[in-house]
Symmetry: C2
Subunit: 533 residues, 2 copies
């Protein structure tokens, strides 16, 4: 069923002799299928095809692109259980979770399709000519967002569907009108192939240009760097480690003639602040929901709560004990791959050994079974502030409780936090109102500020921000989840005194697509008429 | 009248002993006033004040910020003729031009004020809770744009008002809610002081926090690099040379713990494509308007047309002769400063000496008078393609005509162009329609695509894009002119299940400000009501 080839536009290609296999942490062995590493010629071929495809793809209508995305969702569903089974073997994630993630991935594609069909996302702005204006007449000026060009997408390990081959980066780049070249994640190369072939099929069925999508196998240091350095690649979407993300960022900003935007989602430990009133009133419930969040997906979520802030009072110890107890009851889960599992125990041990850090609970080392046992640690806020390395992410079901002596120390410590995807604040209604300055400080550090809820669970919707200040991402001005993610792959272009027939459809007088446009400062869906001022 | 001090929030400060004077290219001598270079302590003080001010300023309402901007405009007007006279002496620009530029600068401030009063710029998006949704309920999610933090603005030489102290970068950053620290341009330090004091006065009058604005004197390599490297600075606005811009970009992306966005507008030669039909029919008129554009502001506009593309035919030579003649009649103008004047002749000579380049006209070297004489050069397209250095900007009234043998060569040559602020296409209606692929190619290289008009003259309006692919700017996703410039200094923040009283005004149910919001996928100015789905 799997051919192990690279997908290069409408072709499949296996010119190279380097092959690799996926290791299954479930079966504890290598899966039989061999995947061919892309050769330099194959990489060049995919890029050349993407450049050629861009000239056509950028001029497709939003409705054409919507149909493409909807068809990808259909083709994914058609791959059926083979996809789910393969992903389970390659990632260790349970079938129920994978079924849910597949739905989410298809819904994401459909959400971008809906955004395209509605059309207003393109931010059309029109200032009509004022030929009689003094001292100088005004030209007719019309602006909309246009695609940047071919985008390199780096698949993530922890969401084999939603943040990988046909995930949010690919969906938003294609929606924007940018061809995509995916660097497959080598730990789920088979899952990648199913997805890549679904996209390839959908491109064929909807008449998209050859090269609108390719998927290549290879390592980050070779294939990844090649893509990031290539002059034809105009933006990068990445989810993964800090080290890999920063390496791409360095290449993209400094090692090429023309720097390009990098949207790397890298490292976040998602602080959760627990105010005293809530803790006192809801020790068990809070401990239970936090334990569930810390162990969700074996702690391998980008939004995993790795940091808990409490103000020392009578309830602190009983809460931490309750949380430790809840974590002890959680069954250790299989991790995504061997490297991640190894790092988990190494990083956990390093954290445990840091000055001032106390271990509250830690399950045994199950790395021979590729499983992660949960852990909870504790540190006084002062020691936390003095050791910035305590903010390094431990990827897995491990959380560090930071105990502050009072509100002032809580605020002082929050101010030393690095940038984060999320920050959560638990408090009673009265408390939240009284702790406004805490919420305000937390907001400065995060992309999403959450009240009385755990950070795991990222809704795919219009209002979502899955992003945040560095090092959570390399570009806090963007989100990688939700419809606004499309903005990452576009730039504004202004047309001055352009004849109607040369204008993009969405800027023409008629407004055939009926999109919302800002015309002479006012928002309207009306065409530009003779009565327009 | 001028005190020569640094403006640090509400204070004026001259702690240092290093002083400098402005050299006037008009009076051909140093002006008497001495300006104090900011000491490291003064720089630190300004930054500390900006950080403190940000905590207050970011929570001001849009209407409060609008009033601040409007008051700046008033205070600028109050400086009266002193400002205009000083700017004339410091830049050599005529009073009429400066009066116009002052109007433009005030209008720009008022335009951002109007944008703030209307309020919808903040891109409020609300997805209301769906507590009954299966399999999981949806939280209430609300998103808007929030300011990044203190911004360093680097004043430009060529627009002492509109792109300097109180120019577009400052206006848009303040509008966004970001405190601003301006690095004054040392060739118009007096002009800067008038402007900085106007802003300081307006901040006091409208009750803005101390430190919302500072202006410091110093060099790019010291003060500029210090600002770009400081952890508290969250973004950079810059207009100037490629070398200075890239030096800031390197610091901002690689030499600090947390990389920050750099909006550097650097180098553009603004290609103008002249199609055969237009040339044949309108030789004199086209030559006349191009000559006026090339010499406007002594060729010191960012949008100066430094590159002309023609397809060789019967009219080519007569057009180039007409253009050369028109340039010869233009009176040489005084340049902005001595360094720019020196570079002009050096760069022009270098270009003239390049392989294949022919001189059509060049006025004499008037550098002793600090004046630039216009020049027109010609090169075959093949030689142009073979020498990328022919795309290096010659800052001043000089243009290079690239002669293509046919349409295919025109298209091939356009594809080799670097990124540009603008591209212009002159053609008859029939021609434009027939040359769609030429327009399409040009669009890929530019931020603004212009039909049958010269590139100089940048309208300050909603639809303007004054930006473009590298090296025109370091960030093609932005514009430095027009209301969309505000987007450079913000990032989206999402609030999940946030109590109404802790939500920013613009995300609260009531929608008191009446802004346009995207609620559950639909655009509306209505409050969130009980009947909301």
């Amino acid at each position: 069923m799997l051919h192990g080839y690279n997908v290069i536009g409408a072709e499949t290609s296996a010119a190279g002799t380097d092959v690799f296999q996926s290791f299954s942490t479930v079966e504890k062995n290598y899966l039989p299928e061999r995947f061919h590493v892309a050769t330099q010629q194959e990489v060049d071929h995919a890029i050349a095809k993407a450049v050629k495809a861009f000239a056509i793809f950028r001029n497709t209508t939003f409705v054409q692109r919507a149909l493409f995305l909807e068809t990808i969702a259909e083709c994914i569903l058609e791959t059926g259980d083979s996809l789910l089974r393969r992903a389970h073997l390659e990632t260790g994630l349970p079938l129920a979770r994978l079924t849910g993630e597949r739905d989410r991935t298809m819904n994401q594609l459909k959400l971008f399709a809906a955004l395209l069909r509605e059309g207003s996302w393109t931010d059309a702005v029109i200032d009509t000519a004022l030929p009689e204006r003094k001292p100088l007449p005004r030209s007719d000026l019309r602006r909309m967002l246009q695609p940047l060009g071919p985008v390199a997408v780096f698949a993530a390990s922890n969401f084999p569907f939603a943040f990988s081959t046909a995930g949010g980066d690919t969906a938003s780049a294609l929606a924007a009108g940018c061809p995509v070249i995916v660097k497959a994640h080598s730990s789920h190369a088979g899952t990648n192939e199913f997805m890549a072939r679904a996209i390839q099929k959908a491109a064929g069925q909807t008449g998209m240009p050859d090269g609108v999508f390719s998927s290549l196998n290879g390592g980050g240091a070779t294939l990844g760097q090649t893509l990031a350095a290539d002059p034809a690649i105009k933006a990068i979407g990445f989810t993964g480690s800090y080290r890999a993300g920063m390496s791409l960022f360095a290449t993209a900003t400094q090692k090429r003639e023309t720097p390009i935007p990098v949207y790397a989602e890298m490292s976040s430990i998602n602080p959760v602040v627990l105010l005293p009133g809530t803790l006192a009133a809801r020790v068990q419930a809070t401990a239970g929901s936090l334990a569930a969040s810390i162990t969700l997906g074996v702690g391998q979520f980008c939004t995993n709560p790795g940091l808990l802030f409490v103000i020392r009072d009578a309830a602190t110890d009983s809460f931490l004990q309750a949380l430790a107890a809840a974590l002890q009851t959680a069954a250790p889960g299989i991790m995504l791959n061997t490297a991640i599992c190894k790092s988990y125990y190494t990083d956990r041990t390093r954290l445990t050994g840091a000055a001032g850090v106390t271990l509250l609970t830690a399950g045994e080392d199950l790395s021979l079974e590729y499983k992660a046992s949960p852990a909870l640690l504790q540190v006084p806020a002062k020691a936390f502030r003095e050791q910035p390395q305590l903010q390094d992410e431990v990827f897995g079901p491990c959380s560090l409780a930071v105990v502050c002596e009072d509100r002032a120390e809580l605020e002082q410590t929050l101010d030393t936090l690095h940038g984060q995807l999320t920050g959560s604040l638990f408090g009673t209604a009265t408390e939240l109102s009284a702790y406004r300055s805490v919420a305000e400080r937390l907001q400065q550090k995060v992309g999403r500020l959450i009240f009385n809820a755990v950070p795991t669970g990222v809704e795919v919707c219009h209002a979502m921000v899955h992003g945040g200040p560095f090092p959570a991402t390399t570009d806090s001005r963007s989100t990688s989840v939700g419809t606004e993610a499309i903005r990452r792959f576009v730039r504004p272009v202004c047309y001055q005194d352009c004849p109607q027939e040369l204008l993009p459809l969405y800027l023409q007088d008629t407004n055939e697509a009926g999109i919302l446009r800002k015309v002479n400062g006012n928002y309207t869906r009306e065409p530009i008429g003779s009565n327009q001022q």
